[in-house]
């Protein structure tokens, strides 16, 4: 994941947020009847602005026509966003308090890593800001969708999306067969561990994530040597961004190529993997078909 | 035998004519003292003769290819620079540079030349001492030994005795004289007219880039010249101890 753009993305690396996620879910479930009543009385926000890649996509999915006024500029980048085409219909914002305030929103949705200063400034100016923590477990996605639905006043739509999601997820979780070893490898040799959204996608697709050795359970930089010696059956790399960078040089290292050659490989772009939206299931599907290729290739 | 012939040499720096129409020849056995007021162009003349300064006119030395020139003349510049703490032996051996083809190692002949130079300047015990740790007088001797090791028939020195004590000054001039006695030639620029008359066979006086006098010391250092060019009066006599010259007063 491009860490340089952390403010806009709910990266799935920092799983201390999962506790917050659970608390949120628990709180919501307890207060569901009260909230439903409140929502019926409260206004449905008419001008919503989203400042975070993940909230952008959820908002685009659930908002009523004309409700969402602007999304972040990352939402239209096909490498980072699964809804790049839809995002082109909305004006883009760069997360500056000035430009957002001038849009006169009655609700701003942002991520936990959106600049604290910007969020504080907007709140001081009297704008309602809802913060969405990053999702780090596939099971937490419904709660996130539900909350976005509440906040936008679109609970029914949210419930539909959740239902579809849970059904599809269950289908994947019932897959069987051998569990090949795999490693996710990104720029700078970074590998997300089990306690991350990417790691969970891999696990749900039926792979054994080799990064789960003690050092990498929470993600870390795995030296190329270590990866080569572990000889995973599948190496999944992220696709390089335009413009060069030395950080991404490692993804084209001959030793990595050689490791991939004899095994299955896939290079994926961040768009489906980064945010806790139903699109993670697309990533799971991609990984499942990779796994089938591997297993079938052995017959 | 003529070791150097210069004709119509002229140098201009930054639009200004520093040297104009200088012609001279130097033969074996001569010790030529180049004298003149500050800024007369003595250093410029010597560098132009060597060809390390752009010039007009003709200099027999400047026309030689670089290494041949190095074998024909040894140059001791005014700044007595020794950049690194090398041993005396190493420094003197640098004088053999023009004799070594690229990539060639020092031969027995080269080592002999170095030994001879060290002996001549009385530096045998200093052989392994670090040159930069020596006193000023000793360093001057080392640099002179380097010039001797070069084995060139012509030696050109720019103010080699400035800042040395009387003993070193006299012995340096004597060394020049003995070199000339062996059939070589020396051109030395200096300010000390007293030493000049005692040790030079010939004096060339330079003023504002032109040669104003050239000949034996007694015929060159006339009271008129001393007044016009140097602005001084002096006592100049040939005594039983040799020629003695002593500047006396500044004349307006």
């Amino acid at each position: 994941m491009p860490r340089g753009v952390a403010p806009f993305m709910s990266g799935s690396m920092h799983s201390s947020r999962s506790i917050l996620g659970f608390a949120l879910t628990g709180g919501l479930l307890c207060c569901a009847p009260v909230i439903a009543a409140d929502m019926a009385r409260a206004e449905v926000p008419a001008r919503v602005v989203s400042m975070n890649l993940c909230t952008d996509q959820l908002a685009m999915m659930l908002a009523a026509p004309g409700q969402l006024r602007s999304v972040s500029f990352l939402a239209s980048d096909p490498r980072s966003s699964a809804m790049a085409d839809e995002a082109k219909a909305y004006p883009a914002n760069r997360g500056q308090a000035e430009e957002i305030y001038l849009m006169q929103p009655d609700l701003v949705v942002a991520g936990a890593y959106t600049s604290r200063a910007t969020v504080a400034l907007l709140q001081r100016l009297g704008v309602r800001v809802e913060i969405f923590a990053p999702v780090t477990a596939l099971d937490d996605v419904p709660a996130q969708i539900a909350r976005m639905g509440d906040v936008l006043g679109q609970q029914d739509k949210a419930a539909e999306v959740i239902a579809t999601y849970e059904a599809d997820l269950k289908a994947f979780q019932q897959e069987s067969g051998r569990s090949p070893t795999a490693v996710l490898y990104e720029a700078n040799g970074y590998t997300p561990g089990a306690q991350s959204l990417s790691g969970q996608i891999l696990a749900t697709a039926g792979f054994t994530n080799l990064a789960n050795e003690a050092a990498y359970a929470w993600g870390g930089n795995m030296p190329l040597e270590v990866l080569v010696m572990k000889a995973p059956e599948a190496v999944i790399t992220s696709r390089p961004y335009p413009g060069g960078s030395r950080a991404e040089d490692i993804l084209s290292h001959p030793a990595l190529r050689a490791t991939q050659d004899r095994r299955a490989d896939a290079s994926v772009s961040d768009s489906d993997w980064v945010c806790g939206t139903p699109y993670v299931l697309r990533a799971v599907a991609q990984m499942v078909s990779l796994r089938h290729t591997l297993i079938n290739g052995e017959d | 035998m003529t070791l150097l012939s210069v004709e119509g040499l002229a140098v201009s720096l930054g639009g200004r004519a520093v040297l104009q129409d200088v012609s001279l020849t130097v033969d074996k056995g001569e010790v030529v003292g180049l004298i003149g007021p500050n800024g007369a162009g003595k250093t410029t003349l010597m560098r132009a003769i060597l060809g390390i300064l752009p010039h007009h006119g003709h200099s027999s030395l400047a026309q030689l290819p670089p290494r041949a020139r190095g074998r024909a003349a040894a140059w001791m510049p005014q700044s007595r620079e020794i950049a690194w703490p090398v041993s005396v032996e190493t420094l003197v051996a640098l004088g053999r540079t023009p004799h070594l083809a690229p990539g060639q190692r020092a031969s027995a002949e080269d080592r002999a030349a170095v030994d001879h130079a060290l002996e001549r300047m009385g530096l045998q015990e200093f052989r392994h001492r670090i040159a930069t740790a020596l006193s000023g007088g000793e360093q001057a001797r080392v640099l002179m030994a380097r010039a001797l090791a070069q084995d060139a028939p012509l030696l050109m020195a720019d103010e080699p005795i400035a800042g040395l004590d009387p003993a070193h000054q006299i012995s340096t001039m004597r060394a020049f004289a003995s070199l000339a006695g062996e059939g070589q030639a020396v051109i030395v620029s200096l300010h000390d007219l007293g030493l000049g008359v005692r040790h030079c066979t010939r004096l060339i006086v330079l003023d504002q880039g032109r040669i104003v006098a050239d000949g034996a010391p007694t015929s060159v250092l006339t009271p008129a010249l001393l007044r016009d060019i140097f602005g001084i009066s002096a006592w100049f006599e040939t005594t039983p101890q040799g020629a003695v010259f002593q500047p006396l007063e500044v004349l307006e």
């Binding site: 080569v228 390089p240 030395r246 | 670089p66 190095g70 070069q150």
Partner: protein, 325 residues
Amino acid sequence: MRLYVILLILMGTLFGVALMIGPAGIAPLDSLHALILGGDGPMTLVMREIRLPRALLALMIGAALGMSGAAMQGYLRNPLADPGLIGVSGSAALGAVIAIQTGIAATTTLALPVSALAGALIGVVLVLMLAGPRGGSLTLILAGIAISALAGALTSLVLNLSPNPFAANDIVFWMMGSLADRSMTHVWLALPLIVVGLGMLALMRRGLDALTLGEDAAQAMGINLVQLRLLLVFGTACVVGASTAVAGAIGFVGLVVPHMLRGWVGARPGRLLWASALGGAVMLLAADIVVRVILPMRDLKLGVVTALVGAPLFLHLIYRTRRGL
């Protein structure tokens, strides 16, 4: 000569040690077996494609930086000259970064090192113009500060303008240098220019010795000063350009190595050239080993270790030459 023998043995030993150290924790005998005899399996891959290029690059780049430091010091007659300190490495890094970010580097393989060479060339020429050979230590250091600062700022600017989200953080690699995750491609990329550059610098041997007496005396003895300067400029540009293109700017090697070896070669600048090449290889191999022993799982930049050794020495040298400044 005894010094060369000692340095060669040291270099060989450290080369071997460098091959056997790494985060993968392979037993030494197994690793050498895999390297030499090959065979299938990940160990051969690790040894031949990851550790071998790294050790080779440390050797080549160390030699390159050592000799270019000795050459610059000999020519400028100043013990403070070092391609990293006086901004040549920084300019080379700028050239390399521009090539990468404009996409030129992707067109032909040689485009990257040649760009870095161009950058280094500009750096050397600027230093010579600003600090002479007649310029003293103060002018040299000031010129170095100016050129380093400018090159660093421009490099940072180019990287920040990149569409790539990782590029901005690459500045650390370019300014501090690293040999992590280099491949044999990088070795072949850097080798020709380093060999050519070392050859050019080695030709300066006699001229540098003669320069001990100053420029005038050297010229009068038949040394072609113009040719000497050209050899310095192009030799340094080739050697520093190729090294920086592949490993970023690594400083202080060209300062520390000639300083430490000067006493052993009788202070003769000509002899110091090859001695510094060997010494530089030794120093960089040692630094790369230290980097992998201290933090095996992370990429501690090489420039950190060389600066930790070199900067105190630099301060000491400045202190000693204060009166001349």
